[in-house]
Amino acid sequence: MSETVLEAHAITRDYHVSGGFIRAAKVVHAVKGVSFKVEKAKTLAIVGESGCGKSTLARIITLIDPATSGELMMNGREVDILHNNRVTPALRRTVQIVFQNPYGSLNPRQKIGDALTEPLLLNTDKSAAERRDLAMEMLAKVGMLPEHYHRYPHMFSGGQRQRVAIARSLMLRPSLLVLDEPVSALDLSVQAQVLNLLADLQDELGLTYVFISHDLSVVRYIADDVMVMYFGEVVEYGPRERVFADPRHDYTKKLFAATPKTDVEHIRARLVERQKWRDSRAKR
């Protein structure tokens, strides 16, 4: 039986919006009791529109923000997610995150090499020479060159920066990587390169991914399991083949219907409809 890397049970997160002179304080339920399980070297995709709580969930799994209630098991061990001041270096080495915008997630005044070695400096007691060697190795692994080590983020394109951000997240050799919309800010061709890189790294290092996206065509390509969220709730959860072949919830169906289709049959049908419309307008 395969090994479960991440198991979440009934995670919730409430935000308290403080009231003012006129407005009363209110509670926003951003995540409402979410449960899921990811096995080693598999990818769980979380899909939903902005404001559905998917990024909040990502921050809880990555132990950045605390949850209001719920349980989380990582590599079979229970993790305290209700108090984020209890995160140990050992836990930090287990889970890492890659953010959506590689322009915002790298410090503009920090050289690539320093960005890569900093996690090691903070969480391990490796020597400077060791840290440098590991960073060089990781640069090569994500398809960058040794001379990039001493450069600054502004000297790179969006795709290259996302490679650096991925390299940095892997410096501590985590078993779990949370990817929060890692390709939505990238051009189509660069998106393909980064998706290939992620697939290569997963094969090579046995990584487990939680992949957050709103793009169903990307999800279909990369995911093993798919979880659809809507207003903080999971409305659909299952293996990719099942979800794509037989979506059960109305919101999932709506998402599929809204996703643009690029097959020739679909375009032909659209053009026929359009011609009909034009003809009827000409008659009026």
Partner: protein
Amino acid sequence: MPLLDIQNLTVTFATMKGPFTAVDGISMHVDHDEVLAIVGESGSGKSVAMLAVMGLLPDTAAVTADSLTFDGRNLLSMSLKERRTVIGKDMSMIFQEPVASLNPCFTVGFQIMESLRTHLHMSEREARNKTVELLHQVGITDAPEKMRAFPHQLSGGQCQRAMIAMAISCKPKLLIADEPTTALDVTIQKQILDLLMQLQAEYGMALIIITHDMGVVAETADRVVVQYNGRKMEEADVLSLFAAPQNAYTRALLSALPENATGDRLPTVADFRLNDAAGGPTP
């Protein structure tokens, strides 16, 4: 005769490192009642070409063309004053960031009315009534209420609807939409694209959609121009482009779509560049 005709358009920016050519000898045209998609990656010059048509580029840009005509008028020799009577009226544009392209200091209603009063010389009352009608038309339900709202009080989708209302307020002959749905969710994207297509069909106006998303192209365009590095790679009707792309770059772009993945890994456009450098089929 095409509504907008661009022949050999070149845009060069003066930079610290010398001149940079963003658009390099592009020719294209749009007819009445036609939807043209211009597709390309960031830096391909697709927005710059259209900003040159609108006359919205900064002074550091040098625009040259053999011919640049709109509705039979020469845009190159037109004075600034004359141009202002055309843009925003017969030719209007909407942008990628709907929240950023509205003025945060004025209400949405005021900004739409401003365009009506300037171009169509409407009275305050006429403009107000027309604005309510326009907001209804773009699918904003409580229009009188939303007219008094400031841009930050609306969602991204609503702001884009308000921008569209402003752009179509004077019944333009040409609407240029620069990445109109890139910042929006897929469900909202569908609503906005449907709205644009419906307005286009109703008014019979020409519509240019600038995008990097092949999905948006497939859902909207009649004809497509593919741009790369400031040059036109391919021009075809939408069906032939997707069914039988002629150019190596277009083929690379289409095969990089995740939904077209056949094997374990996606082909990338870098593969195309390598072939190109090795003396492969040149565009």
